[in-house]
C-alpha cells in the first residue's frame, strides 16, 4: 500500500515535469522572444480587430463573449495548475493525506487558475492578484500574516502539553529537528536565492504550514526591497504548497530514514510511561513557556504568544467557551480561508517557475535533514542517559512539527518492531516541542532578515 502511494506520487511528479517541459517552457521562451523582438502579441491584436473590421453587432458581441471566456484565455500553464489542483483533491480523498488542508488548497488552485481576461491591464476584480476582488481581500490575511497566528491560537487550545511536562528532556528533540531549517537556509543560498528568500525557504524544514506562510509573507512577499535595490520574489505560494505537500508526505518520507539510522535493539527500547501531570503544572506551562521563549526570541511573539494564549484558555479551566471556540470554529474558519487563498495564489505565471522546482527540491531535503537530526540527537542523548531512562530513537523524527502526523509515524514504526510498544504518547512530546522550536527559529530568521 505504502509503495503504491509512493509510486503514484513519483509518477505524478514525473508527468508534471514532462508537461512543464513540453508546454510551459516553450510558451515562456516564445513570450521572451516576442518581447525581445518587439512584436505585439497576437492576442492583443485580436482584441482590437473587431471594431476596425466593422463586424455586425451580433458577431462582435459573440466575439467579445468568447474573448472573456476561460477557454480563450487559457494557457498550458493554467491547465497544468488545474491538473495539480485535481491531484491534491485526489490525494486528499483517495489516500486521506491531510484532507483538511489539501481539499481547500486543491480547490483554491482550481479557483486561482481559471483564466480571466487581463489584457491591457484590465481589472475585472475577479482574480486573487486583482485589487478590489473578494479573493484579494481574503488574501490580505496571508500577505500580512494575519491567519497564521490565529491558527496557532487554535493549535494552542487543542494541544495537551502533558507528555512534554512529564518528560521535559523531550523538548531538546524538538530543538534538534530545527537544524533542518538552517541547513536548508544555507542550501537555498548556495542555489542563488538571496538571504530573505533563503530564510523563507528554510522554514519549510520546520514542517509547519502556518509558520512557513507567516515567514514567507514577511520575507519573500514580492514587495520588500533589498539594500542593493532588488526586490525579493513572491514565493508565498510555492513555499506554502511545498510545506503542506511534504507535511502530507511525512508517512512516506520519514520511515525509511528512521529505519536506516536505527538498529533493531534501539527500536525495541521501552520508555517509562509518563507520570501524572498536575493541573498547576499544566496552567503554569503556557505562562512560563511564553515568558522564557519570547524574552529570548521576541520575533516569535505573534506565533508563540497566540500558541501559549490558546493553551492557557484550555488549561485555566475557567474559559472553556473561549477555548472551545478557538479549537473548533475559529481554527476551522481560518483553515478554510488560508487553504483557499494559498491555493488560489498559485497562479500559473507565479507558480510554474524554476524557483518553485528548486523550492520543492530544497523542501524535500529540509524534511530529510530535520528527521535525520532528530533521530541522531535522540541516539546521542541515549549515550548520557542511565539504563531505564533511555529514549527510543524512533521518536526523534517527531521533532518536526507536523502535528500529529510525525508522532503517528513514530507509533507505526515502533509497532512494527514490537507490537506492544506504543510510542505515540512519548512522540507527542517532541512533536509539540517542534512547534515551539520552529516558531522560535522563525522569530530568529525574522529578526535577522526581516
Amino acid at each position: 500500500m505504502q509503495n503504491r502511494r509512493s509510486y503514484t506520487i513519483i509518477g505524478i511528479l514525473v508527468i508534471l515535469s514532462l508537461a512543464w517541459m513540453a508546454f510551459v517552457k516553450p510558451e515562456q521562451e516564445r513570450k521572451k522572444l516576442s518581447a525581445e523582438q518587439g512584436i505585439e502579441s497576437v492576442v492583443s491584436a485580436s482584441v482590437e480587430q473587431p471594431d476596425k473590421q466593422g463586424d455586425g453587432k451580433f458577431t462582435s458581441g459573440l466575439r467579445k463573449f468568447w474573448e472573456y471566456t476561460g477557454f480563450r484565455n487559457a494557457t498550458p500553464g493554467h491547465l497544468i495548475m488545474i491538473i495539480i489542483g485535481l491531484i491534491f483533491i485526489f490525494l486528499a480523498i483517495k489516500y486521506e493525506y491531510e484532507p483538511l488542508l489539501l481539499i481547500p488548497i486543491g480547490a483554491g488552485i482550481l479557483i486561482g487558475n481559471i483564466p480571466v481576461f487581463i489584457e491591457g491591464g484590465t481589472n475585472l476584480q475577479i482574480g486573487i492578484y486583482q485589487e478590489g476582488s473578494v479573493l484579494n481581500y481574503l488574501y490580505f490575511g496571508v500577505m500580512k500574516g494575519v491567519y497564521p497566528p490565529l491558527i496557532f491560537l487554535g493549535i494552542g487550545a487543542m494541544t495537551d502539553f502533558s507528555s512534554l511536562i512529564s518528560n521535559p528532556r523531550l523538548l531538546l528533540l524538538g530543538a534538534a529537528a530545527q537544524v533542518g531549517i538552517f541547513i536548508t537556509f544555507l542550501g537555498a543560498l548556495v542555489l542563488g536565492f538571496n538571504m530573505p528568500e533563503a530564510g523563507a525557504i528554510g522554514i519549510i524544514g520546520g514542517a509547519d504550514g502556518p509558520t512557513a506562510i507567516f515567514i514567507s509573507s514577511r520575507l519573500a512577499n514580492g514587495m520588500n526591497i533589498l539594500a542593493d535595490g532588488t526586490t525579493v520574489k513572491n514565493l508565498i505560494g510555492p513555499i506554502a504548497i511545498a510545506a503542506y505537500s511534504y507535511m502530507a508526505l511525512v508517512p512516506v518520507i520519514q520511515p525509511p530514514i528512521m529505519r536506516l539510522l536505527t538498529n533493531r535493539k534501539e527500536r525495541l527500547i521501552r520508555m517509562k510511561p509518563p507520570r501524572v501531570v498536575t493541573k498547576t503544572e499544566k496552567t503554569l506551562f503556557p505562562i512560563f513557556g511564553l515568558l522564557l521563549t519570547c524574552f529570548i526570541s521576541p520575533g516569535a511573539l505573534p506565533l508563540l504568544g497566540m500558541l501559549f494564549f490558546g493553551n492557557l484558555l484550555k488549561e485555566s479551566g475557567v474559559t472553556k467557551r473561549l477555548a472551545e471556540t478557538a479549537r473548533t470554529s475559529l481554527i476551522d474558519i481560518v483553515t478554510i480561508l488560508i487553504g483557499l487563498t494559498v491555493g488560489a495564489s498559485t497562479q500559473a505565471d507565479v507558480f510554474l517557475t524554476k524557483e518553485s522546482v528548486l523550492i520543492f527540491a530544497l523542501g524535500a531535503c529540509a524534511f530529510a535533514i530535520a528527521t535525520v537530526s532528530g533521530v541522531l540527537f535522540a541516539k546521542t542523548m541515549n549515550l548520557f542517559l542511565p539504563e531505564g531512562s533511555k529514549i527510543n530513537p524512533l521518536i526523534g523524527n517527531s521533532g518536526v512539527s507536523a502535528v500529529p502526523d510525525s508522532a503517528r509515524v513514530s507509533e507505526a514504526e515502533g509497532l512494527k518492531a514490537d507490537k506492544t510498544n506504543h510510542l505515540l504518547m512519548h512522540a507527542m512530546g517532541p512533536n509539540v516541542a517542534g512547534v515551539i522550536g520552529s516558531a522560535i527559529a522563525a522569530g530568529i530568521l525574522l529578526s535577522y532578515l526581516g
Binding site: R169, L186, V276, E281, I296, Y448
Partner: protein, 121 residues
C-alpha cells in the same frame, strides 16, 4: 563535493549567513533548554515543597509523601479508575435473583368489545 565548495564560497562572501545559522541553532536550543530546566527542576521543587507543607499540616511524615517525581503514571491511574468504574457500575451482580409476576387487575378490557370499537371509529 560541489556543495562543500559552494558552502566554503558562501563563508567567503556572506558571513551573516553563518551568523544566522550559528545563532539560530544556538537560540532554539537555549530557549527550549531553559524551558526544560524550569519544568524539570523549578516547578518540581515548588510542587514538592507544596506537598511537604501539606503533609506537615496534616501531621504526616513529609519524607513519605509522594513527591511529584514519584507520582504514579497515567496508565496506573487509568487502570484504577477503570476498575472502580466497573465495580460501581456492575449493578447486576447484586440483584436478588427473585423473579416475581405482578398481577394487574383490570375492570374492563376493550380488546373484544364491539360497543367500544364502534364508538371509537
Amino acid at each position: 563535493m560541489t556543495l562543500l565548495f559552494s558552502l566554503i564560497a558562501l563563508q567567503k562572501f556572506d558571513p551573516l549567513a553563518w551568523t544566522v545559522v550559528a545563532v539560530g541553532i544556538g537560540i532554539v536550543f537555549l530557549s527550549l533548554f531553559l524551558v526544560y530546566l524550569f519544568f524539570r527542576y523549578v516547578i518540581t521543587f515548588f510542587l514538592n515543597f507544596r506537598l511537604r507543607s501539606f503533609a506537615r499540616k496534616k501531621g504526616l511524615d513529609p519524607s513519605e509523601v509522594v513527591t511529584a517525581k514519584t507520582l504514579m503514571s497515567g496508565e496506573v491511574n487509568a487502570a484504577i479508575a477503570m476498575a472502580l468504574y466497573l465495580h460501581l457500575n456492575e449493578l447486576h451482580d447484586v440483584e436478588s435473583g427473585v423473579i416475581t409476576i405482578k398481577r394487574v387487575s383490570r375492570n374492563y378490557s376493550p380488546w373484544s368489545s364491539k360497543l367500544y370499537n364502534m364508538s371509537n371509529l
